[in-house]
């Protein structure tokens, strides 16, 4: 999945109106909350190449960190 596709999916997961970029700081996005973590994990379950641990999602600081979890 390329970066643009990923950002579109993430906007969907978070149900946010914000414009996300690869270096957007997650904790500054209002919708990056426990609800989004769970939706993001569900997304990983579908598209990630390797298993993503909940702690890795919690540890992510910027959008790019999440992208790397999907793509590694």
């Amino acid at each position: 999945m390329n970066e643009q596709e990923f950002i579109e999916k993430l906007v969907d997961v978070m149900d946010t109106e914000e414009e996300l970029q690869m270096d957007t700081v997650l904790e500054e996005v209002e919708e990056w909350d426990s609800l989004s973590y769970v939706s993001f994990l569900a997304l990983c379950s579908k598209v990630a190449k390797t298993h993503v641990e909940p702690q890795e999602v919690r540890d992510a600081k910027v959008v790019r960190d999440l992208y790397q979890l999907i793509n590694r």
Partner: protein, 351 residues
């Protein structure tokens, strides 16, 4: 743990839940802002919750369900040789609530009665136990299961993760041996992950630690006085160990997922059920979410989904190969494949 139990079946099934369906907005009040609440509801797929009137317990719902089965003449009271109640919320700490259920249903004295403390996998565990008992029990087994968690001493009135999804319900199933000429098998796969028991647990109120109350005996609003759930860890479990367990069961019986006529999974919430369906490559027709106006009813959620399907006109004679899968606290997952085509199932009842 894989296995097969032969020549037993579910003869009858009934669920009771509350007439009172509370919109989620009302249940959370101003704990969640409207914009976030809209996202929560869109995510969980749960809009209303079955909430009983004060004073009604899960055993009351079980008794109501069982009485309907007896009233319809599907099974007679005298045919019951054992009754057990799968619950995490007994009427009293002791004795087991099954004795009170036995009494209220006027079952004979020549019965076994006990409770089973089991969470969301509880219905499937219950079928396993009942079916296993039938290898030697001369009569039928009355399996009761359910929880009422809506009162604020049980569900933390500030914990939106439970407030937005938990509903009250209880179901009963009667299991018996199949007739001579009718061969049936129940296949099961049950796994437990005790290393993660703290991901969904209630720290206080039993041997390890007391509940903390005020001088007047009121519950102090601390999370440890209530059930606590690590949402991400549970999601991770339901999207990894649960589909692994189901896939392994399909392999054990040498059937593909496409051979499943219906998949009745724990109705945790809409996101979980849909994600599980996608993960296993099943459609939402085959693996439905039926609890949008009921909520997550814990160990009663699978039978609730079943009676809701019946209420909506499902033809059970088509369900020769039914997959059941309950998963939750423990953490544990219990899956089964069985034939439901001759089950006598009543539509959901409200009280």
């Amino acid at each position: 743990m894989f296995g097969v139990i032969e020549d037993v079946r579910i003869e009858a099934l009934a669920t009771s839940l509350s007439k009172n369906r509370v919109p989620v907005e009302e249940r959370v009040g101003d704990l969640i802002k409207p914009k976030r609440l809209a996202r929560v509801i869109a995510g969980t797929g749960v809009e209303k919750l079955s909430i009983v009137q004060p004073g009604i317990s899960a055993s009351d719902l079980c008794v109501a369900s069982a009485e309907r089965i007896f009233d319809e003449g599907i099974v007679k009271r005298e045919d019951i040789g054992a009754v057990f109640f799968v619950t995490q919320r007994p009427d009293y700490p002791l004795p087991a609530t099954s004795y009170s259920i036995q009494d209220r249903l006027s079952l004979g004295t020549d019965v076994l009665a006990f409770d089973v403390n089991c969470s969301c996998p509880g219905f499937v565990y219950g079928i396993y136990i009942a079916a296993s008992m039938l290898s030697n029990l001369g009569k039928k087994v009355l399996l009761c299961c359910g929880d009422v968690t809506s009162n604020p001493d049980i569900t933390n009135p500030k914990d939106t993760s439970f407030l937005t999804i938990m509903g009250d319900a209880a179901s009963v199933a009667i299991l018996g041996r199949t007739p001579e000429n009718c061969k049936k098998k129940i296949y099961y796969n049950i796994d437990s992950y005790g290393d993660r028991f703290k991901k969904l647990y209630e720290p206080r109120g039993a041997a390890r630690e007391r509940k903390r109350t005020t001088a007047d005996g009121e519950m102090i609003l601390e999370p440890e006085n209530y059930s606590m759930m690590d949402g991400m860890a549970i999601t991770d479990f339901t999207l990894k160990e649960v589909p692994d367990n189901i896939t392994a069961l399909l392999k054990y019986v040498d059937l593909s997922k496409d051979a499943m006529d219906i998949a009745l999974v724990h109705q945790a919430n809409g996101l979980i059920v849909n994600s599980l369906a996608e993960k296993l490559g099943m459609s939402s027709e085959v693996m439905p979410f039926k609890c949008a106006n009921i909520g997550n009813t814990d160990m009663a959620s699978i039978p609730t989904a079943m009676t809701e399907l019946k209420k909506d006109g499902a033809d059970y004679t088509k369900y020769h190969t039914a997959l059941l899968s309950g998963f939750g606290a423990g953490l544990s997952v219990a899956s089964m494949i069985m034939d439901l085509s001759d089950i006598n199932i009543l539509p959901t009842n409200e009280i």
